[in-house]
C-alpha cells in the first residue's frame, strides 16, 4: 500500500483520467438529479439517457469497454425506449405535471441524504489509500476488452449465462402474458369496457 501511495501523487495532483472521470461524474449526477426532480415525465426519461450514458463513459474510463457498449445498447437503447413506451401507453401528460412528486418528499429527502452521508463517509474512509492500477496499454489483452470478458464469460460463467437466458425467456413470456388483452367475453367485465 505504501508503494502504491508513493507511486501515486494523491488527491492534489490528479491524473488526466481522474479529471475526466470527475467531470463526467458530475454531469452524470446532475442528469440523475434532474431525472428524479423534473416535473415533466418525458423529460425525466430523456435525462435518464444522459445519466446512463455518463455511466457508460465511466465504464470506458475504467477500461471496461465491453460493459460500456452493453450499457449503451441495453440501457440507452432498449430500457429507455421501453420506459418511453410505458409513459406513452399510460397516457402520461406531455407538459409539466404538478403532482409528479408525492407527499412524502421531505421524508424521501431525509432518507436519501442520510444514506448519501453514511455511504460516502464509509467509502471515503475505507478506500482513502487505495488506487486502481489502470491498464491503459490498450490492445486486445486489456482488462475489460471484449476478448477477455468473453473468455471469462464463456469459460467460467457459462452455467449462469445459460440460466440467465432462461430467465430472460421467462420474463419475455411473462411480460406478454401480463400485457395481453383478455379474450372478448372477459373484456366486457373489465372497467375499460366502459370507455
Amino acid at each position: 500500500m505504501n508503494l502504491a501511495a508513493a507511486a501515486h501523487p494523491g488527491f492534489l495532483s490528479p491524473t488526466g483520467v481522474e479529471i475526466v472521470f470527475v467531470l463526467v461524474g458530475l454531469a452524470t449526477l446532475g442528469s440523475a438529479l434532474v431525472t428524479v426532480t423534473t416535473k415533466q415525465l418525458v423529460h425525466a426519461a430523456l435525462w435518464l439517457v444522459a445519466a446512463l450514458g455518463g455511466v457508460a463513459v465511466e465504464y470506458l474510463l475504467l477500461t471496461a469497454e465491453f460493459i460500456a457498449w452493453v450499457q449503451v445498447l441495453i440501457y440507452v437503447g432498449s430500457v429507455v425506449v421501453l420506459l418511453l413506451f410505458g409513459l406513452m401507453l399510460t397516457k402520461a401528460p406531455i407538459g409539466p405535471s404538478p403532482d409528479a412528486d408525492s407527499g412524502n418528499r421531505p421524508l424521501a429527502l431525509a432518507v436519501a441524504l442520510a444514506s448519501a452521508g453514511t455511504l460516502v463517509t464509509l467509502v471515503v474512509d475505507a478506500f482513502r489509500t487505495t488506487w486502481i492500477d489502470l491498464d491503459t496499454s490498450g490492445g486486445a489483452s486489456a482488462e475489460g476488452s471484449t476478448r477477455v470478458t468473453g473468455e471469462s464469460l464463456f469459460r467460467a460463467w457459462v452455467l449462469p449465462f445459460e440460466a440467465l437466458s432462461v430467465l430472460l425467456l421467462a420474463a419475455l413470456v411473462g411480460a406478454i402474458v401480463l400485457s395481453r388483452r383478455g379474450s372478448a367475453p372477459e373484456q366486457d367485465r373489465t372497467p375499460e369496457g366502459k370507455r
Partner: protein
C-alpha cells in the same frame, strides 16, 4: 485512479435513486429511479473488478448479469404497470390503496369492500361466475 472516485459516485447515484423511489408518485418514474440504483451497483462492480484484477473477472461478469436482470425487471415491471393502469385508470402509486388496512367503521361506511380483481381474477371466464360480477368488474356478492 483513486478508488474513492467511482465508489463515491456510485454511492451518490444510489442515494439519488433512493430519493426518486421514495418521492415519485408515477410508477414509471419509480422504475427509472430503480434503474439509477442498479447502475450505481454496476459501477461499483466494475470499479472493484478493475481494482482487484481477478482472473475470473467476477465483477464484470456479474455486472453483465445485473444488466440483463435489470432488462427483464423493467419489462415485467412495465407490464405490471400497464395492467394496473388498464384496470384502475391510473398509475399513481399513492392511489393504489386497495390492500391497505382499514378500520371497521370505514369498512362499514364504504359498504362493499373495494375489490376489483382486474381482468385476471380467480373466476377467469367461468360461466357460473357471471352472476357474481356486474359489468364494472366489481364483485357484488
Amino acid at each position: 485512479m483513486h478508488l474513492a472516485y467511482p465508489a463515491v459516485l456510485a454511492a451518490l447515484l444510489f442515494s439519488i435513486g433512493i430519493y426518486g423511489v421514495l418521492a415519485r408518485r408515477n410508477a414509471i418514474l419509480m422504475l427509472m429511479s430503480v434503474e439509477l440504483m442498479l447502475n450505481a451497483v454496476n459501477l461499483n462492480l466494475v470499479a472493484f473488478d478493475v481494482w482487484l484484477r481477478e482472473t475470473l473477472h467476477t465483477g464484470q461478469a456479474l455486472a453483465l448479469f445485473t444488466i440483463a436482470v435489470a432488462a427483464a425487471e423493467i419489462g415485467i415491471g412495465l407490464a405490471i404497470v400497464l395492467l394496473v393502469y388498464r384496470s384502475r385508470g391510473t398509475s399513481d402509486i399513492d392511489r393504489l390503496r386497495d390492500l391497505r388496512e382499514r378500520s371497521e367503521a370505514e369498512a362499514e361506511a364504504d359498504g362493499i369492500p373495494d375489490d376489483p380483481d382486474g381482468p385476471y381474477g380467480d373466476d377467469a371466464g367461468g360461466t357460473g361466475s357471471a352472476k357474481y360480477t356486474d359489468d364494472s368488474g366489481r364483485q357484488t356478492a
